[in-house]
Amino acid sequence: MASRTGTHSPAGICKSLPERGLLLLMVLVFLEGSVLPLGAASSPDVTHQANSDNHIVKEAGHNFTKKPFPVLSLDYHHIQAPFEISLWVLLASLMKLGFHLIPRLSGIVPESCLLIVVGLLVGGLIKLAGEQVPPVLDSRLFFLCLLPPIILDAGYFLPIRPFMENLGTILMFAVVGTLWNAFFVGGLLYAVCQIQPGNPSILHQLELLPCLLFGSIISAVDPVAVLAVFEEIHINELLHILVFGESLLNDAVTVVLYHLFEEYAGVGSVTVMDVFLGIISFLVVAVGGVLVGAIYGILAAFTSRFTSHTRVIEPLFVFVYSYMAYLSAEMFHLSGIMSLIACGAVMRPYVEANISHKSHTTIKYFLKMWSSVSETLIFIFLGVATVEGPHNWNWTFVTVTVILCLVARVIGVVGLTYVINKFRIVKLTTKDQFIVAYGGLRGAIAFSLGFLLNKDHFPLRDMFLTAIITVIFFTVFVQGMTIKPLVELLAVKKKQEAKRSINEEIHTQFLDHLLTGIEDICGHYGHHHWKDKLNRFNKKYVKKCLIAGERSKEPQLIAFYHKMEMKQAIELVESGGGVKLPSAMPSAVSMQNIQPKKLPPAKPAERALSNLPKGREEEIRKILRSNLQRTRQRLRSYNRHTLLADPYEDGLGDLLIKKQKMIELERKIKDMNNYLTVPAAPPDSPTMCRARLASGKDTDFKPAQQQKGNTICPDPQAYSMKPEPDSVPTIQVDLASPQSPDSVNLMDEFRRAEQQHEEDQGLMMKPPSGESGPKKPGEEDGSREHKLMRCLSDPGPSADEDEDEPFLP
């Protein structure tokens, strides 16, 4: 007990009482309650029956002796199973929370290690309390509940492009590598077991087939462990996809080998025919799994085509179809993991085009949440299961297993890379090979498979389990903890954090077409050629069937552009801090800067301001400065949650701030228009009207804005209109629908305004004609004009702060 609270006290310091209280409560429940096996949770009818029996007994007692009505009664059994499940989940989530509150610890030790330690502690506590430890890592629970969310998350967000580009290498590692590992470890282990003839040992009973079975269980790299460790070390995309892809695809090999050896371990002899059947079975398991997944994926995509009227259940289709795919594959003993991966990867592009943005966010968060809780639970359960035993520690067996696993992995990777490098364009370096070999972590899948073994067929099951746990602990603790320093030490290329820019997307597309073209010229039907064919087929037929409406015809580049715009607009609205323009329209550079110089760019502004007296320049500058400072104060006060103290916005809260952001955004958009055209046009010119239409909704913010007396505007450019007395009324005249705009509206505005701005370019290009309003011949001296420009466009301190910040590479 003391040790337990001790470990949590660092977390407890930060979040103090409530958390500690919850933990204590949890411990109490574990100690007090008669802990039913959690495995029972997966078959709820049993508990239910027990509960109803309970009720009947109670009622019977109630009928005969008249007792006062129980005002408060305790019936723990009624809620036991779900309550305990919730407690486990709560424990997992709190642990996760706790670790992220101690940044120093999570910098050194990977989360997976810490979670296993927590599991060990919890298991130890339960054991200390004299309770029976629940078989938490029960295979049914593991394979049917805990594993699918993690795999679906991996499959749905699988980076398809690098995955497909390296598919050959990944398959090689996954299939040949795993086979090699299994037979090498199994065979040599058998040999070692036969060695000591003088010493009568339990190991002599071990036959070849159980050894091979053990080898096939222990040799598969585990996706859960790999994900947990590799996400923390931020390794480059190629290595990540190699190790991770291998861990996903070796499932088929493991499933087949496992069933094969388990089957024949009872019989005792294997013929050539059996080997042949095994190979066939492998193909069926792998291809069948992918097919099942793909069918469900297409079904999901097709369903999502019709969900435009019931947006709320859209995310559910993704989850349910994927789970069905997994279960269907498992039903036939096909590879459930490959089926889930295929399902997620197939459905994603179509589903994403069909569903709403909010549904997409929901899917993303749900998957991440589920998978992270599952992952946490798996590691905790691994710890608990370790305590639970039963163990059979055999020094020889365990040591030999660990060493053989390491040796087999290294030899396998080096040997396979030698072959693969003959075919790869981008060769794998020695460093890459080392990381691939070192990243081969084992995990809970191996444990669960070992747990599944029948003790009657395998009398040494306990020894197997102990060895499996040791290997898992060795890889997760030793390799998992040292891989990060090693990556730093070897200076392996890290992942680039920079988000994808529109230019990179353009060049990706360009390069695709270019390489396809060059391949065609060479007459070489390679990778790019077939990819291009597939893309064309996809665009021509598949997309039309699976994607509703116009979006099916949208080229990838445009889809990317829209996505980017959307993201930036949302970020802008949601960001509480400094005001930034979305990077589609970087604040430091305006459209004017890149416009071909048909007109001297200074001219429109000059015309707008030409009726300003010279002496006002300083004045404007001063106003701008003071206003900017006030803006910053206001923003700072918002950040400190002292909103109410602000005299301008009594009790208006978040909404106002958001609106404020939108006003600013729209203003900037309008300013861009102003920059190019508006100053030249009189207030009632067609241009102005159109501009007003485009930003029609902004009027319902006007009162708020004016109440602040326009002093809060952080963008000095907005003042380019201010000196003109009639510009303010023109904006006010508009009637606006009082609807409260959300981000989508805002987006529309944004896009429309942009189109507007496109059209307006034409106007701007025209030489100034008689239609423009206050106009002066251009005899002003250049220096003054320049000064005015500077004054108006002075970014001020706040603008300087975030200058080109979003784009630093």
């Binding site: 230019n503 070489h524 039907y525 800067n593 590479p809």
Partner: protein
Amino acid sequence: MGALQSSPGQHEYGDLAEKTGFSFRQIGVLHTRFKQLSHNEETLQRDHFNEIPDLACNPIRAQIVGAFFDRRNFRENGEGTVQEIGFEEFLVVMSHFRPPSLHMTQEQRESVRREKLRFLFNMHDTDNDGTITLEEYRHLVEELLSLSETLEKNTAKSIADAAMLEVASISMGHMEPDEFYEGITFEHFLKLLNGFEIESRMNIRFLRMDTTTLCK
């Protein structure tokens, strides 16, 4: 038909191999293809490229074909375009797509990167003035999107504009409203595609040519 021509001896390939870095076998395969494209002529013309059926549906076909006739891609300081190319020029252009070797120093890697990016840059910079102007960039995006039927020109334009704004903000930082960004210079281009691993992406496998399928 393509396999009928007499292939030059090893000594002729020697110079080419040294210049382009291709192996003899690769040069042999490419030479077969060259003969096949040119109908056994010594030189290749634009029309020959336009006969390749698979190229017909490539949205940037004009630019790809153009690159083969661009003197800038043949040697360091070339300029202008040519009407027909021999096998050597064909090979030199192809050599831009050679995969990098396993053991390369950092400088070699950087020079390969520059060379490949220069090729791309030349494709974009159609008027050879050292900058990719907004007009050229818009043209590029329009070409890229030219295959989709439902496209309005404005979308391509706004994408190009957004991209150009991005370039300007990366390479220039803050700009005064009266400043003007002329276009992307090669230095900016390098900076722009900094995270874009061109040296491992702009590659083609040159063996295993399928010469029968296109022989009409």
